[in-house]
Symmetry: C2
Subunit: 344 residues, 2 copies
């Protein structure tokens, strides 16, 4: 079977180490996955030298010059008003106009969210888009959504998140019957906010076709209790940032500890490289390095701002796998089942 | 100046290692702080042998026999209905009836919350009680509330939490002008839920007498950006459990890593004791080991369920310091300033 060529629009100017890591990441991804074509949006004067004479190893690409760049601290509202000519907005527009199958950016998250919402619009039937990402769990990868696309979510939104998360776990992670959990402050059925209890009641219904485990708590995120954790974007974002902050704090404690005595310094010397690798692993836990914006007319993947070439390549692969899986078609089907169920 | 004797009601049967750690913790605390008297609530047959002939070193105590114990997994509703004769409820009642100044328990958190709310009632002017705890930050201790007394909080509740948290940071941690932050999904003023923006507007008013920094995010918890983090009990509880889960996950990764190769095993052997100490430090980050229930007619402190004698002693000291500081009087004053401000 030959797979169709995937056309990937890249915001070549987004991220701390752009455009170098973007080009190098694309070249790495192209080695692993064939039949990819890249549309590179950015400053031609910066991109051309990196690509000339095959220096990057990247072959199947076109450069689309953009004068403007979204700044890392630019507010979403400003990006919407003034950023139309930016590499980010232009890359998104390529997806919106059907010239590309997906867009990947390591740029400003808030701006990317605003520009994709505006440029791609919601998928039919989706009330609210959501951001999903994956984390390494004790036994296996866990997905969590919404990580901040919206600050509030009612029961209906949460159920839609569950269906989108279920599709993601099946078609991107490759799980057969992913277990879903709703993030709450206790695992008993009577706990928590009314919207959560209502969403749980809907999800328990077998006809929706998801494997609903029930409520989970914050310490279940890494416990492999479930495969997909569903929450509103406010709570999800706080949990995500709390995880990141905790990891950095412990890493700093560990560094201090390792340098604290002669024996620990000796131990560090003996194992130095291995410890550096350990730190890299825990500091950057995004197994796939791709936060995916779900529920839009088009695939959009956000890479970490400080991604290196390898992790940017992973974000590209996530985007490509969503395209290959015909991901939005699965969301449409899932939402269709829900709508038929609600109509009864 | 002689300080008044503090009478402390102890739920001697609460916690994983009760009653041993409770008795031993009381004895430790009594060594450091003079003028403490303990009312020990629990099974006389279990307590007496630990105390007989001065075996524990504890002197100033009375035993109050209780037939019943709240089970670790007992639901709050069941504790309220059936737990009146339990050591936990009886210890709380001693505070409610003025026979003790404060109560400390390492038992079931949900039950303790329900029983204290019922047994002590809200302090006049407090709309909703809150749970506060302290965490080690990069530069200094940070306090966070509400950690789960209520799942929802409106702007008015959040402002009251801010005033109670401010009192705690001043009179328990000993800070002069504690910096307060509202937990949100971004630091810009326009971000987040309406209740948060409204609370921020109220807190920015100088007349309330708190030093309000603005919005903070989940990764600010350990960053020492502020001294007190204010949030609703749902978000606070998720953040707390996420922290705990992240710490345990990283500790397990680190353990696996340390055993992964000859060199790391050698390093571990060299530094073995130090690493064990490091693990203990990160796994049990509660600097004070006391979650305090604020806003009640009486002082109630929750110790970790798996507290050892030293950390149970810390919880007792927190309770005693709240009594010595005449803590609830400060809350009354702060709420009074707020009420006068609102009345204008």
């Amino acid at each position: 079977m030959t797979e169709k060529t995937v056309t990937i629009a890249l915001d070549a100017m987004g991220g701390d180490h752009a455009p170098h890591t973007v080009i190098a990441g694309a070249a790495l991804a192209a080695k692993d996955l064939r039949d990819m074509r890249f549309l590179l949006f950015g400053d031609q004067n910066k991109l051309a030298p990196l690509l000339d004479a095959g220096a990057s190893g990247l072959e199947n690409y076109t450069i689309h010059h953009c004068d403007d760049v979204i700044a890392p601290d630019q507010k979403p509202s400003s990006a919407l008003r003034h950023g139309k000519q930016s590499s980010m907005a232009q890359a998104i527009q390529a997806v919106g106009e059907g010239r590309a199958d997906c867009v990947v950016s390591a740029g400003n998250t808030g701006a990317l969210m605003a520009l994709t919402m505006f440029g791609l619009k919601r998928l039919e039937g989706v009330s609210r888009p959501a951001i999903i990402a994956t984390f390494p769990g004790r036994e296996r990868t866990v997905c969590m959504l919404d990580l901040g696309a919206n600050v509030e979510a009612d029961a209906h939104n949460l159920v839609q998140f569950a269906i989108m998360g279920d599709c993601f776990a099946r078609h991107v992670i490759g799980l057969d019957q992913p277990k879903l959990g709703l993030l709450n402050v206790g695992s008993e059925e009577s706990k928590g906010l009314a919207a959560l209890r209502e969403a749980a009641n809907i999800l328990r219904d077998g006809e929706i076709g998801v494997n609903f485990h029930g409520f989970v708590e914050g310490d279940d995120i890494f416990n492999s209790t479930v495969d997909v954790i569903i929450t509103d974007g406010f709570t999800g974002n706080v949990a995500l940032k709390t995880m990141e902050g905790t990891v950095r704090f412990i890493a700093s404690l560990l560094r201090g500890f390792l340098r604290s005595s002669f024996l620990t310094r000796l131990g560090l010397m003996l194992t130095g490289g291995a410890f550096r690798q350990f730190f890299r692993q825990i500091i950057n836990p995004g197994a796939y390095n791709g936060a995916v914006f779900l529920g839009l007319n088009g695939i959009a993947v956000k890479s970490h701002g400080n991604a290196n070439a390898a992790s940017f390549a992973n974000a590209i692969k996530v985007a490509a796998s969503l395209v290959h899986a015909d991901f939005n078609e699965h969301i449409r089907e899932g939402l269709g089942r829900l709508a038929r169920k609600s109509a009864k």
